[in-house]
Symmetry: C5
Subunit: 99 residues, 5 copies
């Protein structure tokens, strides 16, 4: 999985029929020190994430293993909202302390 | 999924038999501020997209989950035409206002 | 799919039994203006391509969706020979006019 | 597979139901001379790895071929803990001699 | 497939049970002129390759299409040993002439 931050939303009225009802987010990749990287994906949401949250997303066929994305033409899915990240023994991210 | 812009078309008369009837587009990757990137793919179209449109495409086995691409040797499919993109609270793209 | 040019051939007598009979080509990635990129793959051929031709190749599990590659340990297949490429309204490649 | 080092942990209370019980690690890619690279993934653990260990991780659908990850939305799994690496005839890593 | 050179071996006693009996090699990517690239993978061996040999490896789910790797958490497999490479009309590699 990749570590990312939900930075925006996508609205698409004309889309494959199997995409109906899926929320699509712009997710920017993060570095290990939580800086935004140059890369991003558009990911479906299976966990009720919101803009600004730090999340994990899965890619490829693994993105179709959630109840929401099964059998759909979706190659990236947000499957977890990150509470805490520890690198070495340092807590580098805590959702409840981050502004 | 990746965010891209349809920039051209591919004509191929000699191709795998399973590709018959599929429209193939050149799709250039876009950055979050809608600038063209150096990367592009050739994607099949499942939504009736046209040159100049901003789209989403799915890659890998997920590209075979549409009715048009099922079971075909296709690793990228346009599965949505983008109407609007919002980054943070700013509307960075609106199909109906873009030229 | 990726746009590439067949630049060479691979001979391998010792190989997985499922590869018997497959022709393997060196395919260099091309940019949108048909320049050779630094990246290349070794792809199986399902369309009778030859050295020098501009082709499309599919990667990953999609590379196993042709009759020739089904069930084989092959992650890239040439599935179309390009006749024409149009970017915007300009014809940037025409097989029958290219040298 | 990629060679990596377990550098941290991820805590996520809100996640896809199929992720329950999986341990998620931050794994930094290593170069052939065991230096940390700029790239990292979040991988599930199928072998009882710990922070600081040099491991192998598998990506994509192959990450779902362990008993722990089967059918789950997981695209990277630690499937081996490295004891020794030999490059040419030189032993470049020995778990039992590394600090 | 990618062109690579077997540059070393990996020993891992603690690993997913499905990996038992597989030989794991360090394989460095090669450029078209047979120079070592900065990228490498750890690949299972299905053809009896040895250190120093120029090989092809397949990635992703295609890496599980050999008898040795079927159903295993393996995302890269050496599936051919290269005898000769021809680029244009020049023989750029010949196993039996390479030192």
């Amino acid at each position: 999985m990749k570590l990312g931050k939900v930075v925006g939303t996508v609205v698409a009225s004309r889309k494959d029929e199997k995409l109906e009802g899926l929320r699509l987010y712009l997710v920017q990749d993060l570095s290990l020190d939580l800086k935004g990287r140059d890369a991003f994906v558009v990911a479906a949401d299976s966990v009720g994430a919101g803009v600004g949250e730090v999340v994990l997303y899965a890619s490829g066929s693994s993105a179709r293993q959630t109840r929401d994305t099964d059998g759909r033409p979706v190659d990236a899915v947000i499957m977890a909202i990150v509470d805490q990240l520890e690198v070495g023994k340092a807590l580098v991210f805590d959702k409840f302390k981050a502004g």
